[in-house]
Symmetry: C2
Subunit: 770 residues, 2 copies
């Protein structure tokens, strides 16, 4: 079993490193004492999407308004709050700036590395085209690709497996409120950046855009906390922001800045963050996120303009540049809209196929390819195969086009074409995918012949399916766009060959754009934010309406078959992900059925021994404990008077805040919020805290540290109502009380995430320790 | 006092019409029994912004999950929920379509009416320029203007005063959760549309864009309810949506569709709705809003393209068209950014001045100009003055420019200029403001001379200040843009005359755009949504970053002096508007201090006489009543077991749902949710329901109809926490309980809106019956 958990590269390796025992790391408040209900008994069942892992913890988006916190807030003047607000803006500016710089670095590094590679291979091919023996060129190309990918694969697989993939599923989970271990560390960022450079330079069917979102999030988490655990440096700044609430807000800004830098889409970035993360819309927060996004794209633009030798020319706002769609020469007509909808449906179908194939492949990988060296070898194999297939396609293609005067192709391969002509298949393969997308959008009609496009679509589709999920840092946006642009352009060409009126259907570039949107929408199923991203990336609002129609059609058609790619991967990790609303048909469930019970509670003044025993009990391993006052009848559950977190108790134990000591150590300073902040976010495990036998007999007074006003609901509350409260306020624990205010249960994220709408109505997921 | 309330055209006239007595209409749950606290005793104090009116009710955004509701939801299959969702989409499509049509109608009507007017006046001027006696032309112009404005003023002042102004403050309030009487009625829409056509055609310094937002909202409210109270028609469709929750969601979509049609900015529309309204972000809702926005701009575009004789040419997505900013020829440089920031600060200053002048004027109007005929006369006066001033400016200006070959001017006035030349001052005044804005953005350098622009800015500024708040339907967006564009262009011209390097500062149109953004931002203080609206209206993302910088500078500078124009007008109406967060320094307040107490509660089974008496008591006039169970000690407050609304009780009383009748009338059908929906939204007042003396002795069982799980908070909860819960879930009543679950207080919107951050820290507003 252990190795099954380990196979999934982005989730579990951190836990195996022994920082905490795997059991202590998670399993939040799920009681499985009610033996009569099968579902709540965690079993060791092989990894599948019908499980909900107990391994993931929630973020505490709800402030614990205990006495310490209230005292601090009450001491603060209006001026201090203004200063805090200004600090938040400064941090957002920094996040945007650094994210832009990283994007700039990635872009320049990839351009140069790939440039060198293509130059060398091109020289070689040209040399051997006349001499014969092109197989040597093939080997050179394959070896170069594999070498790049090997480096990228090794650093990811051996040093930081969570840096694999695009990171978007992980950031989605984080913004949703799930703590994914190691996801926002500096080390992850470094590996991610180097990894993505290697995989793009290595010619894989991947993009460098997706990982920017993850990178932005890491930057945000680092900057806002004013310290780095990887570097073991604490700059002693921004200490006020050391809690989950603030950190998650900044991470939203970082993710938005990442989108903004990747696509030159600041508004799209804001909408992405909101679509994925926000539960409670806050105007000032949104505005800060927007600021970070703007700074990010501006920084990228500015530094790239300097790099390209045209300082001040702010025309490359993102990593991907779709080129300029001119609204004068291009436009669409009303009667083209049904065609766009058909393309949307096609994108949905192809997207579903993509996801399904990738799903099976991922299951296969989880089962069989879980050792790091195997993972690296698979990545190298894919790189070599990509080179070979590309080479074969170019070799056997006889689609020659005259070389234009404007030299839009950076590496035109003549190969067996006549002088002054170049091989068009080569332009699609022998190029970074970003350039290929742009060529498909903008090259004049007649640049590609239909066979070339069809074959390219087919081959690239399977290559992209195989590539996504490899243990390398890479995004799926660009390959999706490329596949879509290829078949979209094909669609446009076929259309204009069917209809006689050349003038109307003249521009296949338009269909390439729509096809790209359809394919991407069919795979990732994003809607609002993706529309805006596409519109911003094209720099033209004319296509907004068709792109929206296409994306929505793709989503509806795709959802009929299988979920979006990111959701599939999240489900395969058994993450307790909360959707926007409770399943529609769940009104018959109430808090009583949903909650976990009985609940482990503490008294206001509790014996240290009891507390240590409860915390040490690895079979229950709760994270939040209601604090209760008992009435005369001791056997009844107590009345709720507060809620305290495991992390808070740990700090209390560490500082030996016992009642007996309070009188004897008057000289010692009182515990302050700072002590909790210093320990955040990695509170030590209970095992590391030594409590002597004498101390076990002491008492701890929790009054000052507990949250005295936790949110509660009565037992009769319906599941949608519980869900709404939980989701809107970003809660971690919701106490269920009876009409006497006695604690009868506790609702946590897993209790809610468990219910989902399947093919046969409401279904329940099983809980497991995977 | 009564007439002071009446003076404010948009709020109170509906109440005077006797549909309900003014007292019954509002005063939601504010208990003023605690005589020791002065603030909570409502007084009849003259209208001012330090008051909070008891007149406005809240919307019920929180579903009352009573047994009837739960039974209905549980009966529904997954398929029915899907059908509902599809219906929502259809409604949103309809909303978008109708809003687009209305925008199209307004545009065409204004174009034609204004066209006829300018043609007639131009003919006249040309005739008298040579003959002498231009004063006749002036009189003709002034009379024409006044006539249009008179019609517009009369229909607004006498028939539907709430249709005055742009309607944006009212929609802001509605989306915030405040029920403004008569604001979303069909009659309001008709008056609004006719009114705006008249005022724009009448040459006032107003725009036709702002009112579109209100129009969209009315369309949404009408369509989604499937009936019209103005027409007294019930189409018996969409009955499921007859509650505040659903209606407000649709109204958000309508407002977004309005913005979208006005500015051709679908994304801006969505963001406007979210910025103003949303508390809980919901992905599906947002996507529907976006759909409505897209359909709206598309419809407008499509029909306008047909009207302009170029069907299928989708190049006019909004009422205002900023023209095309070409990213090749225009662009900005890094060293221009400080200049933009200076312009932003200037815009903030001028905006603050605008708001301050308008604030004083509004106070003056509230005091002295409150009779409808006076209001109409003021409007006519403004129209005549506008014409006179314009004429004088044109007459005394001697700024002649050669007539371009491209004829960008539709009505070039030669006046005293040489042949082949035209008067530039006339182009600014003798035009719809939309055209003037576009000319300022796009006319080539040298089209205007600095004196003309300076004088124009000055005159138009004061005209616009005077115009906003008149009893006509009109928006403030376009005049703001025009003022800003004028001084922005002036700024650009001065800049290029100072610096020698003509090539860089060549295009004053760029500065006109930035100036327009600065001025508009300084007046309305919108941020994120306005940036996106400006970007979409220019159709160019290049200026996104400078526009954002400018808007944020304008907001910061402006906020230092005075609030935004809409907020000023909302405050002058004493609307209990909830901001995004509780004041930062309010942590020392708890629910105990904030709540109203004691609370009028009902028993589960209550005597009809008691209920009728409580409802009839106009001195308390509560809208929500906790339902309690009493323990043995009768003098203690009871334990909470539910919450019931006045409107629900009214329906119960109307249908005589008494315990005694239940057994005797087995044949009679059970009360269903449909009965509540039919009565929505205008539940009859208690006075209209006859309850006989016998019936007064009957008992009513509230169990089935009350919300059994209202949200509650303990007394110690801090104000920010209460606020967050209240705002995030869109509550109307929040019950405060002690640790035995006994009801000790009730928090409503007014209890929270009362606290605000003033110059001297936390301040409390007084409650009043105004």
């Amino acid at each position: 079993m252990a190795n099954i958990a380990k196979k999934v590269s982005w989730s579990s390796r951190g836990d195996d490193r022994g920082e905490r025992t795997p059991l202590l790391n998670g399993a939040e408040d799920v009681k499985y004492t009610r033996q009569d209900i099968v579902r709540s008994r965690p079993k060791e069942i092989p990894h599948n999407e019908k499980l909900l892992s107990l391994k993931y913890e929630s973020l505490d988006y709800d402030n614990s308004e205990n006495q310490l916190f209230l005292e601090e807030e009450r001491r603060m003047s209006q001026m201090s709050f203004s200063c805090l607000e200004i600090t938040r803006w400064v941090i957002c500016g920094l996040i945007g700036f650094l994210t832009g710089l990283i994007a700039c670095f990635i872009d320049i590094a990839v351009e140069n590395l790939a440039g060198v590679k293509y130059f060398v291979v091109k020289q070689n091919i040209e040399k051997f085209t006349e001499l014969g023996g092109l197989s040597i060129s093939l080997i050179l190309w394959a070896v170069l690709n594999s070498a790049f990918v090997m480096v990228g694969g090794i650093i990811v697989a051996f040093f930081e497996p969570i840096a694999a993939g695009s990171g978007i599923p992980q950031i989605k989970c984080y913004l949703n409120g799930v703590k994914i271990p190691r996801v926002v560390r500096l080390k992850t960022l470094v590996i991610k950046v180097c990894g993505v450079i290697c995989s793009v330079a290595g010619g894989l069917a991947v993009g460098k855009e997706g990982p920017m979102i993850h990178s932005g999030a890491v930057v945000a988490a680092g900057v806002s906390q004013g310290r780095s655990t990887s570097l073991k440096r604490d700059f002693k700044i921004f200490e006020y922001f050391r809690r989950d609430t603030e950190k998650r807000d900044f991470v939203s800004a970082g993710a938005a800045a990442g989108v903004s830098a990747a696509f030159g889409a600041p508004v799209g970035g804001v909408l992405f963050s909101l679509e994925e993360g926000a539960s409670f819309w806050n105007q000032m927060l949104t505005w800060r996120i927007f600021f970070a996004s703007m700074i990010s794209t501006f920084t990228l633009n500015f530094f790239l303009s300097i790099y390209h030798g045209k300082p001040g020319d702010l025309s490359s706002p993102g990593l991907i540049n779709f080129g300029r769609f001119d609204s004068d020469t291009m436009g669409y007509n009303l009667y083209e809209i049904p065609l766009f909808i058909i393309m949307g449906a096609l994108g949905g179908l192809l997207g579903a196929l993509f996801n399904l194939l990738n799903y099976w492949l991922t299951i296969f990988r989880i089962r069989y390819i879980h050792r790091p060296c195997l993972q690296v070898m698979e990545a190298m194999l894919v790189a070599a195969v990509t080179a070979t297939v590309s080479f074969a396609m170019i070799y056997f293609s006889n689609d020659c086009q005259p070389l234009g005067e404007d030299h839009t192709e950076e590496y035109p391969l003549q190969l067996f074409c006549a002088d002054g002509e170049y091989n068009t298949m080569a332009t699609a393969f022998f190029n970074t995918p970003e350039r290929s997308v742009r060529s498909l959008f903008h090259n004049p009609p007649g640049s590609y012949n239909p066979q070339t496009l069809g074959l390219f679509t087919l081959v690239y589709f399977f290559l992209a399916v195989w590539t996504y999920g490899l243990t390398v840092s890479a995004g799926v946006f660009i390959p999706s766009l490329l596949i879509g642009a290829a078949w979209g352009r094909l669609f446009g060409i076929l259309l204009s060959s069917i209809t006689s009126s050349q003038s109307i259907w003249a521009d296949p570039g338009k269909y390439a754009l729509i096809g790209a949107a359809a394919q991407l929408g069919g795979i990732v199923r994003m809607t609002l934010s993706l529309t805006v991203i596409m519109v911003e990336a094209t720099g033209n609002v004319t296509y907004g309406f068709p792109i929206m129609l296409v994306l929505i059609t793709a989503k509806i058609v795709g959802d009929y078959f299988v979920e979006g790619l990111y959701d599939i991967h999240i489900k395969l990790q058994s993450v307790p992900f909360l959707h926007w609303e409770a399943p529609a048909t769940s009104h018959w469930l109430t808090a009583r059925e949903v909650m976990s019970s009985p609940v482990t509670c503490f008294n206001r003044v509790e014996k240290v021994g009891t507390i240590v025993d409860v915390l040490s009990n690895i079979s229950t391993n709760h994270n939040g404990f209601p604090v209760v006052v008992h009435t005369i009848e001791e056997d009844e559950p107590g009345k709720i008077c507060g809620l305290i977190l495991r992390s808070q108790i740990i700090v209390l134990l560490k500082h030996k805040v016992f009642v007996e000591r309070a009188s004897s150590r008057l000289s010692q300073r009182k515990l302050a919020l700072k002590d909790f902040r210093d320990a955040y976010p990695r509170f030590p495990p209970i095992q590391s805290i030594h409590v002597s036998q004498d101390e076990r007999e002491c008492m701890m007074d929790l009054t000052e540290f507990m949250n005295p006003t936790p949110y509660t609901v009565p037992q009769e509350t319906s599941l949608p109502r519980v869900f709404k409260l939980f989701r809107a306020l970003g809660l971690r624990h919701l106490v269920v009380v009876d009409n006497e205010n006695r604690v009868v249960g506790l609702v946590t994220r897993k209790d809610l995430a468990r219910y989902h709408l399947g093919k046969h109505g409401l279904e329940e997921l099983q809980l497991a320790q995977t």
